[in-house]
Symmetry: C2
Subunit: 245 residues, 2 copies
DNA sequence: CGGTGCTTTGAGCATACTCAACATCAGTGG
DNA sequence: CCACTGATGTTGAGTATGCTCAAAGCACCG
């Protein structure tokens, strides 16, 4: 296998057209421009697995992802984990309700962020409606993805969950200029499980079953090739529990 | 039982201090004021169970709830339903990504809305940063609740889901000036199930179990009294599967 | 009254979980 | 260079939580 043809997620955001789609690209611009004038953003880098902030930490900064992937997650009192999102370049996070973070943010891959203090951002937004507008757009877009995630967690089977997940990654990769049918999965089985509301064992079994059925193949656990995207698409929406196999 | 002491959800929003909390109250103000000047909002009323818009309809209006409760939900191709939120007075909905609604909005109770065309709202927001600011606040707040909902759907047991749900209603009622320990549940068992990612049978069984354990009591299926809020709180977060019963 | 819709309860089952063993791989030090 | 270790992933066996199917209870209403 030629490793060069496999898009590595670490490189997303390092290229010139790094954003998921046209809309996302549009989001990045206003704050960039504003920052050039007002110098409110500072650059921060994190290595893979480093925490950016913890649930319970005082909030006060908003972050924009420049490169890399950020994992957001919440924990129950007894340690169960729910990943609320994997965020890609162009997306914002750090907004909170009560001056306290309601979840933990962690760098999934090595990551570069632009960080803004909330106070400065608000001041800037008051002067420039375009900034405010694009912030609203960003949060709105995240709300809509999160609502899709609700349907996935509440009403989809394990097989459907994993298929939907893989298709979403495929879209992100394709939108970043990579090959949507051959890519690296940047998260561990545990992280996938915590995103899909499953256990690692179930995730692993579903992967194996997709492989057995010829819908995809592996080079190793983190590098897959989608062999039949149409059947994968069908699996992501249909129950099909009664027949087939 | 004295029906008069039971807060009816239909009346939420009809009172002067109708909002969930101080923050929500603050949200309502700017658009109200702006509207007085610009006359961009129009009042619409819906009876219980009436649809406001359907998944797939062209989007173009944003709604603010004046009175009543709105149910938002998404459907899979084969008809499974996930309720993404029950919205109360002061909350906004109708924002979408692609000029097309990604979910259905339905009046749960009789409901009054103020409706704004997106175009006019954007024009207004461009002129008045405060409007934009409060819109952002509203969407941000909804995103955070939706993230809590993710944890509930992905990582909580049926018992924990129902307990969390009841406590949330209790908070809303208490915040609206009602009695947080004695109230009407404004949604059917099916709607609760579709919100919690369960079946009606499981919801019903969990209710019965809470009753048997003395944590709450019924007058009828829709009217409950919470008898032991501390144990309910404990149940909403702990698994406790290994011992007790 | 007899309908109709919603809710509750019961019995059996299936999907996904738990517990456990084994495989694989990377890093480390003998 | 290879054995050791720890982290990660896969597979198996048995189980439990919540689902399905079915019937009965209950309230509201003509």
């Amino acid at each position: 296998m030629s490793a060069a043809t496999v898009l590595r997620f670490d490189s997303i955001g390092a290229r010139s057209t790094s954003c998921t789609d046209v809309r996302t690209a549009a989001l990045v611009t206003p704050l960039r421009e504003a920052e050039t004038n007002a110098d409110i953003g500072s650059i921060v880098s994190y290595r893979a697995k480093e925490a950016i902030y913890f649930e319970g930490d005082p909030a006060g900064r908003v972050f924009e992802i420049t490169a890399g992937i950020v994992k957001l997650f919440k924990l129950t009192a007894d340690g169960r984990c729910q990943v609320t999102g994997f965020l890609y370049p162009g997306q914002y996070f750090g907004f909170e309700r009560n001056d306290e973070h309601s979840q933990t943010a962690e760098a999934l891959t090595s990551t570069t962020l632009r960080s803004f203090t909330l106070a400065k951002l608000e001041r800037l937004a008051g002067r420039d409606p375009a900034v405010q507008q694009q912030l609203l757009e960003a949060v709105r877009s995240q709300l809509l993805s999160t609502q899709d995630h609700l349907l996935l967690l509440g009403r989809k089977t394990a097989q459907e969950k994993l298929s939907s997940f893989l298709l979403r990654i495929s879209e992100v990769v394709a939108g970043s200029g990579g090959d949507g049918s051959r890519f690296e999965i940047p998260m561990s089985r545990t992280e996938i499980a915590d995103y899909l509301g499953l256990t690692t064992e179930t995730v692993s079994r579903c992967f194996s079953r997709l492989k057995d059925r010829g819908l995809l193949s592996f080079t190793d656990a983190r590098h897959i090739t989608i062999r039949d995207i149409d059947r994968l698409l069908a699996l992501s929406e249909e129950d099909e529990g009664t027949f087939a196999h």
